[in-house]
């Protein structure tokens, strides 16, 4: 603004402001006018005044008319102009068709990732959706108690029979109190219609009271929901059982006879719909508890706990307060009863440590099975695990997409350059590439959806569920479309911006080398892909090893060729003769009658054992199994001290054979001959058996004692047969003679044993499937990348060859970079995998150690796979005729 060598100019900032505010069609004349005035005023007055007046004029120009845009002759390009969009789509489709291999890899990888995600999403949706279908669900709770015994905290779900009635009477806040008993008279039941002679074995029995049915809002299709179970000896069955036993008839009023005993009859008073797949309880036969007493005095006994209780509270009840109020029951009912019937200090201490907790019904399924309620539970950890796996696989597939798009950018560079020269703005180009990636995304989603539908049955088998696509829900299609759009946009953003940034002049001159920055990103992404794949591979290896270990570890008994015959208690006295017949069969070596078996979920009996003079606190909690003389021989158990039960020794009725754990726990140096005690009396130890696994290997071997006793539900046959079919036929024949109206039920011990670890096997299968998928996708990406790189360096390779490089040298050159990436990925994967696997293995009391050779194996496999993928391309390049590339120079 000072006069001098330079002619005075109007203030630049003001000019800038003017330029920015004014509508374009007015700018030129206004700027000119103002400048003209400025110069005149400079001449007339002074530069300073001219400036001031300039500013004043500018200020007074401010008016909406200043910036109101003239309605333009051509409107600006709207977001989706049809012809432009058509062009984008055409170009996209042409690109797709021209590079079929790369397009196939892009779409295929994406589709695979999406299919995996969809399937896992279905699984997670069901797992999280258990017990959501109760109308009053937010007021329904299950009763839990936390207690402490000898310093160990425990959670229990079982309560005494009279609790339900007492709760209802003394706590008005509780609208309804229901309970069920699944412990007594619910196993080994064969039922028949009163008018038919054949009995069938059934499962899914439970004793319930009417209020339990009300609380869980069970939907009735026949019978009176309010009154179905108020009478003694009444029964409610599910629809599928009604179909099975009374097809086409009305089941109400019909009678079932249990175990062929006319004294045990139940009359059908209602039919309910089958329990949905998302219910935490699954039963088929609900028997009324009205007037039922499992043994004399059971219904008023506060010491035995076998009832799982549910309550429905009134609206607005304070749960925490209710939990505290419930404690009064302990003082009022538990303690007096126990004291009256001769309790010891330990039991009283245990009762006094009770804390009640109300568990919302929606949380029962997912709660980790610290609560032993014999119900199937989902595991929140698995949900997290599978969710992460799904996300990772999708990320890997997206990475492929990004890498392939940016890698092949040289092909699109010319197109971008020309478009820019013609007049495309960067925004339009970004939109074009986003459109392309959206196209790919929708394509992949469609293919992925198809894949998911096709693979659903396989997936169901893999995870042991029966999932279906929720076609009926209104939100499915919009969610899928939104998902496709979202993923397409996200994955397409980086390539879009990368590709549209090419400068036309550099492209058209031929300088395409925008390599370096993108190459680093690509490498990072490849490393990430392989890390995830390696972690999954390691997981598979570890789980496989652990399974192998479990199934082949010495269990302490001989599980080969042992046949279990179930339901033998129905033979009653005929069992003796039956045994003789069995022994008569040539293939049968030993026969034993006992339903205490070394399989999870079988009969168990727990109680304290002690030696003379032990204090209450020291008594050992151990198993008490009732077996017969032939049990050890039939099961192949090894005696390390003493002798087996003998029929010649009548005193053996007071004898016990203990296992090594019990001997240790009781601190018996010479166990044989010692006297030990349990609640039934005193016993003489006649032998010590080697510890054997009778629960899943997740548990440590417990102390146990074997007694002579009657437990006749299962007959064990040790066979030595080369032709199992013939043996089975013979056994079945004998069975039919003894029990014509009951089909035989048998199983093999080793199969049952393997079934205990079904969930472990399943996890292993899932891991291996996903590891395979991840590796395949990562390798697809690697394949494409290496093909591209070989293409890029075609000329370089030819020249090197001409100058005398050997094929080996060339291959090394091409593969070295990628192998380095895989090794980096391996290093990153190790700590993560180690941590995860250790956490998983901690579940098992008996487990494999995490050896370094597992890691080495995984690493080598990864490198090998990578080499195989790249190898083909590199080899082809190294062996090619250099003339081909240098011809067009």
């Amino acid at each position: 603004m000072t006069p001098g060598a330079t002619p005075p100019r109007p203030p630049r900032w003001a000019k800038g402001l003017l330029e920015r505010i004014t509508a374009p069609h007015l700018l030129e004349e206004l700027e000119g006018d103002l400048e003209e005035l400025f110069h005149r005023r400079v001449r007339e007055y002074s530069p300073r005044k001219a400036c001031l007046l300039y500013l004043l004029d500018l200020l007074l120009l401010l008016h909406p008319r200043l910036w109101r845009r003239k309605p333009t002759a051509h409107p600006p390009t709207p977001l989706f102009r049809m012809t432009l969009l058509r062009n984008y789509l055409t170009v996209a489709l042409r690109t797709l068709a021209r590079h079929k291999l790369y397009s196939a890899i892009k779409i295929g990888g994406f589709a695979a990732g999406i299919a995996a995600c969809l399937l896992i999403a279905l699984y997670i949706r069901q797992e999280l959706g258990y017990d959501q279908h109760y109308a009053q669900g937010d007021r329904v709770y299950r009763l839990l108690r936390r207690s402490a015994l000898r310093g160990e905290a425990g959670v229990g779900v079982h309560f005494p029979a009279p609790l339900a009635g007492t709760l209802r009477a003394e706590y008005p806040a509780l609208e309804k109190v229901g309970h069920y008993n699944a412990a007594f008279e619910t196993k080994d039941i064969q039922i028949r219609r009163s008018d038919r002679p054949e009995s069938l074995h059934e499962e899914g029995f439970v004793h319930v009271n009417q209020e339990w049915v009300d609380i869980l809002e069970l939907p009735f299709v026949a019978g009176n929901p309010r009154e179905a179970l108020t009478q003694p000896r009444t029964l409610v069955i599910t629809q599928r059982k009604a179909e099975k036993y009374f097809p086409g008839e009305d089941p109400i009023g019909k009678v079932f006879i249990f175990n062929d005993d006319p004294q045990r009859q139940y009359r059908v008073t209602g039919v309910i719909r089958d329990f949905p797949a998302t219910s935490h309880v699954q039963y088929d036969f609900l028997m009324s508890l009205a007037g039922k007493e499992f043994w004399p005095g059971e219904q008023t006994n506060w010491r035995t706990s076998n009832y799982i209780s549910y309550i429905r509270v009134r609206r607005g009840t304070d749960i925490a307060q209710l939990e505290r109020q419930l404690l009064a029951i302990v003082k009022k009912h538990f303690l007096p009863y126990v004291v009256k019937n001769g309790a010891n200090a330990e039991e009283i201490g245990w009762l006094e440590s009770f804390r009640f907790e109300l568990q919302p019904v929606k949380e029962i399924y997912l709660n980790r099975a610290e609560v032993r309620d014999d119900l199937p539970h989902g595991d929140l950890r698995y949900i997290w695990l599978f969710g992460s796996v799904a996300v990772f696989i999708l990320v890997i597939a997206s990475i492929n997409f990004i890498n392939l798009s940016t890698a092949r950018s040289a092909n699109r560079a010319k197109e971008v350059g020309i478009r820019k020269v013609i007049g495309s703005r960067r925004g339009s180009l970004v939109r074009q590439f986003l459109t392309e990636s959206l196209l790919y995304s929708f394509f992949s989603f469609a293919v992925g959806l198809l894949l998911a539908i096709l693979l659903l049955p396989l997936f169901n088998g893999l995870v042991g569920k029966s999932l279906t696509f929720p076609w009926r829900t209104w939100w499915l299609l919009p969610v899928l479309v939104a998902g496709a759009g979202g993923v397409g946009l996200l994955a397409g953003l980086y390539p879009a911006f990368y590709l549209s940034a090419f400068q036309p002049i550099r492209v058209l001159k031929g300088h395409l080398g925008r390599g370096s920055k993108a190459a680093t990103t690509r490498s990072v992404l490849v490393v990430f892909q392989f890390s995830v794949s390696i972690v999954l591979m390691l997981g598979t290896l570890v789980i496989g090893r652990q399974m192998h270990y479990i199934l082949n570890k010495k269990v302490g008994f001989d599980k080969e060729q042992v046949l279990l015959l179930e339901g033998t208690h129905t033979l009653n006295e005929k069992i003796v003769a039956f045994r003789q017949q069995m022994l008569g069969l040539p293939q049968v070596r030993h026969v034993s009658l006992s339903d205490f078996l070394p399989l999870a979920g079988r009969k168990r009996n727990n109680g304290p054992m002690w030696t003379q003079g032990m204090a209450d606190a020291e008594k050992i909690s151990s198993q008490h199994w009732n077996v017969d003389h032939d049990y050890l021989k039939t099961m192949g158990l090894k005696l390390v001290q003493g002798r087996d039960f003998s029929a010649q020794m009548p005193t053996d009725s007071g004898a016990v054979i203990i296992n090594q754990s019990l001997a240790e726990a009781l601190q018996l140096k010479t166990p044989v001959g010692e006297r030990i005690f349990n609640w039934r009396g005193a016993w003489t130890v006649i032998g010590v058996v080697e510890d054997f696994h009778f629960e899943s290997m997740k548990e440590k071997i417990q102390p146990m004692g074997l007694f002579l006793g009657r437990s006749p539900n299962t007959l064990l046959l040790k066979v030595q047969a080369t032709d199992m079919t013939a043996t089975l036929a013979a056994v079945t024949g004998v069975w039919k003679q003894f029990s014509p109206h009951q089909p035989i039920r048998y199983a093999f011990l080793d199969q049952q044993y393997a079934a205990m670890y079904a969930d472990v096997a399943r996890t292993g299968r899932i891991f291996s499937s996903f590891a395979l998928l991840a590796i395949v996708i990562a390798c697809l990406g690697l394949f494409a990348l290496s093909a591209f790189m070989v293409e890029q360096r075609g000329k370089e390779i030819s020249i090197r060859k001409v100058l005398g490089a050997s094929p080996g040298h060339l291959v090394g050159l091409l593969t070295l970079n990628f192998v380095r990436l895989v090794l980096i990925a391996f290093t990153l994967a190790i700590p993560l995998a180690w941590y995860l696997m250790r956490a998983w293995l901690e579940d098992f009391a008996y487990r494999i150690p995490l050896q370094w050779e597992l890691f080495a194996l995984a690493g080598l496999s990864a490198v090998a796979v990578a080499l195989l993928t790249i190898g083909y391309q590199s080899l082809k390049a190294a062996l090619a005729n250099p003339v081909d590339h240098l011809k067009s120079e």
């Binding site: 004349e29 000119g32 006018d33 400048e35 005035l37 401010l62």
Partner: protein
């Protein structure tokens, strides 16, 4: 009155545009008016008025030559359209009629 309503300032500007025939652009109009009218002229007001006149169809504009004084920018030249001419004539007629009917006694200075 037929035709568009003409404000006082608009009429003045329109007259000046006719007066300056073929040389009428914002700055020239502004200077001419400031010479004749007592109140100070602001470029912005003149400019807005010209815009409004153009929207009403009373003037048309075209781009003229660029000068160095304007920093190489062209000026916008306005000319009165037929409709503008009609509006001016109409306004003049009304005034003349009224002037003609004023009795001698109304103004001390007489009616010229």
């Amino acid at each position: 009155m037929k035709g568009t309503q003409l404000g006082e300032f608009e009429e003045l500007v329109l007259l000046t545009v006719a007066f300056l025939y073929d040389e009428a652009y914002s700055v020239a109009v502004m200077e001419e008016l400031s010479r004749r009218v007592a109140r100070p002229m602001v470029l912005g007001v003149v400019h807005r008025t010209m815009q409004r006149l153009e929207e009403k169809g009373l003037v048309t504009s075209r781009f003229g030559e660029a000068t160095a004084e304007r920093g190489g920018r062209r000026k916008r030249l306005f000319t009165v359209t037929a409709a503008g001419e009609r509006a001016l004539q109409e306004a003049r007629r009304i005034r003349n009629e009224l002037w003609g009917g004023i009795p001698a006694a109304a103004f001390k200075g007489g009616v010229a």
